[in-house]
Symmetry: D2
């Protein structure tokens, strides 16, 4: 089955390359044509419009940066919805809000199309190694059809349910837990610093004990080193995700008080000009509030 | 060198047993005499008073439940301070507040005695296996003298600094991070539940990914199972620790907004009668606030 | 100058009636025709479409319930923007978000029209008595042209600046202060109740002292009486306003931690089925969390 | 009946002077002798020890700065408890924690003495004018005996209950509401400033409307003027009170999330060196966190 792929940022390129090299018949599109070269080099067809990418594809994959891009690419003029046949599956691999996913699902359904949500866990280098986690949700049959594509990039697939929003909310919830872990480290490191303890002592205690996990090892290291210019994920992007989380929670009346502290520190960080730093810079805000230099 | 050991709760017994069986000359004391039997059985001397346990010991270890117990045992009538010689080292292995540790250090110093703080990371069964983490702080020479005892129970020693409060604050900060991790899980699990997703999907995503660590595996499991009667650490004890953390932070003017959310949920849990449940019952409070049953 | 008036809810009717009876040439429109009767009775012309209400009016006033209604009425098909001449002033009297106001201003400007924002302070009965506070902002000349209409309903006009969003943000900020006052009362009343003190003692202390003001007298009374069915403003509407506040704050990176506590309690209240109660029902949530019945 | 009065700070002097000039037989004591002169000048007897002030007094009044001072003056060597006869009434007029009041009550009871709590509402100049609010609680008969003294300084007496802690908690709860009002203003003023609105617009809206009360007029003015050196009550003292509030709430398991935001901002303010500024300087912290200069 032919597959269209739209959105060739760093993550999109890594995923599309895996899919193509796994032997799938792939046609790619990106607004900025330049980014298609890498895919052309591995033999993917390159479309010059969304319409062309969708034309006779049974599955169209998107990896887009935010809800606005999804709205435009899927439902704008010349977008996926109007360019695809009935029965086409749109597999959304970006991180999106539950409202955006629900709305997309409904409009695709009206056009006789099917939405599957398959947000990914991991960075582009993990994708390139085919080691992503993928959360998968949508109507069972459609989700099954997407599996071969997902298997090209995934170490593990987490089946979240039969509504696309099920995958979206799991991905957001995982981000919530991460934001709170970083906030907690910001608080904890500030606390020990005020008592004159070197932060690497706490780092060792955490990461060799209860918190021997990538979230703490990776972000903890950045905080200990105050290496916020070592950007994995910017504060601006962190804010975008936390907004999706708070939005999804608010819509279902779930209070998230700890997540709000993450949100507030992200706002402060950006207000202070650190929007382009790694989002663990919220630990720096915490330190400032405690009077540390 | 003879060692006194005071405080034979579950953790104290496990540690004292390891120390004795490692070959140290040990005399133990507990307010409730009954709990000394286990130690007598492995050959420890049993004192009938704190005074007797301190008499000619070079090091007196305490493993006590709270600051009030430390105050009474160390500085009450017939306590460690008045029962010990000059030069005696008091190694505190319990979790205590920084103010209590500082105050104890000062009063011991006035009596020519030395305080070393060596709080432990791990449960009694971990202690029994000699696999504890121990955070160690105090004057270097005194701390070194304590090492053979610590080595009998520790997998790893984290040297935190030359003031006893350095170890205390690291232990508290680690607890802060744990409290926030549980709070974050409470928020995240409530969120996915409101969207109709099974909690074990999120559990798998977390514990096979960024959060593949004991804190999330252990407490996450309790929350997923709503198994709050499976008590590792009660809400009442959790509240005691969070109070020590907030107290230590407040004394040095460190705001801890996420930790306050943990505190508030613990208060609610206890107000609702769950003081004796596992402290991850704060996730239940979070679920209640979101309108979940 | 002829004036169009769209949106005849309780507040809209009260304001429009004052404007008409002050002698202005008024044509009114409401989606539900029934609500125009009261205005017809005092001599207002009644339009059967937005287009008719705008036709040759120099000023078109709207009093709408939310941003979605504003979007539709002003910029939907047959809406104010396409139905009005160049130079028409659209005076928005509802409470709207700053983003909605800014967006409306820009689109009106593209059509050669002018937006003035004039949100009101007070309930419908206060409007009927001509005793509203009105916050006014927009280009000076246009704002001046609106003054005679405003004078028909206002006790006092607060000039907030030359951009319409200036008035919107002041109205929202005032609501923020109110929400926090109610939250504070919820916390304070729960606290004294737990100590066995009657809530009216605290009520008297507050309202005869530092807090001798309508916000405390009115909402404090509801809380003391637990009279949340005595609805001035529902929890659902309160949530709508708090969302506008948090949205406006987030857009400019202003952290509002106390306001988040109001938000969280509103979410809980609605999750527990109290969306239709007075929004001071957040005090009930606070009491619940403290274990009070 | 002879009355002893201990604690002649600014507030203590104002109250004692009113009591003496109302015709009561008064003997005063202050640790720093100098501050007794003002009272000697109006005819009060001056004691050189607590013992002398208590000797044959039926009521001993204290106006002390904190719980530690109360502990020392009432229960230290040569303190009120051991210096007074059975049946003596100790009327505490300072602001104290509920735990301190309860503990004092119990120890006085063991000595056959009675504690009455009568914290005051208002500043020293209000006391000098006899216009204080006084919250009164304690055993009815003893409280009645204190009334003539209170009537010398009070505009209004609020009877809170028959346990002394009833008055203490009402006074603390009133402070909670005030702290939250200041926090709310900090948030609201930051918000309008970020949108380019002058803060006095919001000040006028608040203080001529829902918030036409001393708390908003007084503290709002300081915030608008950024006049934090105009100190009514320092951030350090504010922190002391908020700690009493949080302590009293925590003891009864009442979560106070909004009050925690006040606490956190006070900690930050003091960490930044503003402990001696007016406690409304928390609005300055809020502005900083929003990136305002």
């Amino acid at each position: 089955m032919k597959t269209g792929f739209i959105g060739l940022g760093r993550m999109g390129r890594a995923i599309a390359t895996r899919i193509k090299t796994a032997g799938h018949d792939l046609i790619v599109y990106n607004r900025t044509h330049d980014k298609t070269k890498e895919l052309a080099a591995v033999g993917a067809a390159v479309a010059t419009s969304i319409k062309e990418a969708c034309g006779d594809s049974g599955i169209v994959v998107t990896m887009l940066s935010d809800d606005a891009a999804l709205e435009q690419v899927a439902f704008g003029p010349g977008g996926i919805c109007e360019s695809s046949r009935k029965g086409t599956i749109h597999m959304v691999m970006g991180t999106h809000g539950t409202a955006a996913i629900r709305s997309a699902q409904e409009r695709h359904a009206q056009a006789g199309q099917i939405l599957v949500s398959a947000p990914v866990l991991g960075r582009p280098d993990v994708a390139a190694a085919g080691q992503l986690g993928v959360v998968l949700a949508g109507p069972r049959e459609a989700a099954e059809k997407c599996r071969p594509l997902i298997d090209a990039v995934a170490r593990r697939v987490f089946e979240a349910g039969d509504k696309p929003e099920h995958a979206a909310i799991v991905k957001l919830a995982n981000g919530l837990v991460l934001g709170c872990a970083i906030e907690a480290m910001g608080e904890a490191f500030s606390l020990v610093r005020k008592y004159g303890v070197k932060t690497d002592v706490l780092y060792d205690v955490m990461t060799e004990g209860l918190f021997a996990a990538p979230a703490y090892k990776g972000y903890g290291k950045i905080i200990v080193d105050e290496g916020y210019t070592n950007v994995g994920f910017t504060a601006e992007l962190g804010l975008k995700d936390i907004r999706l989380i708070l939005g999804a929670a608010g819509a279902e009346h779930v209070p998230l008080p700890a997540t709000h502290t993450v949100y507030n520190h992200l706002l402060s960080a950006i207000a202070h000009g650190y929007g382009g730093k790694d989002w663990s810079v919220i630990a720096h805000e915490q330190a400032q509030e405690a009077g540390l230099k």
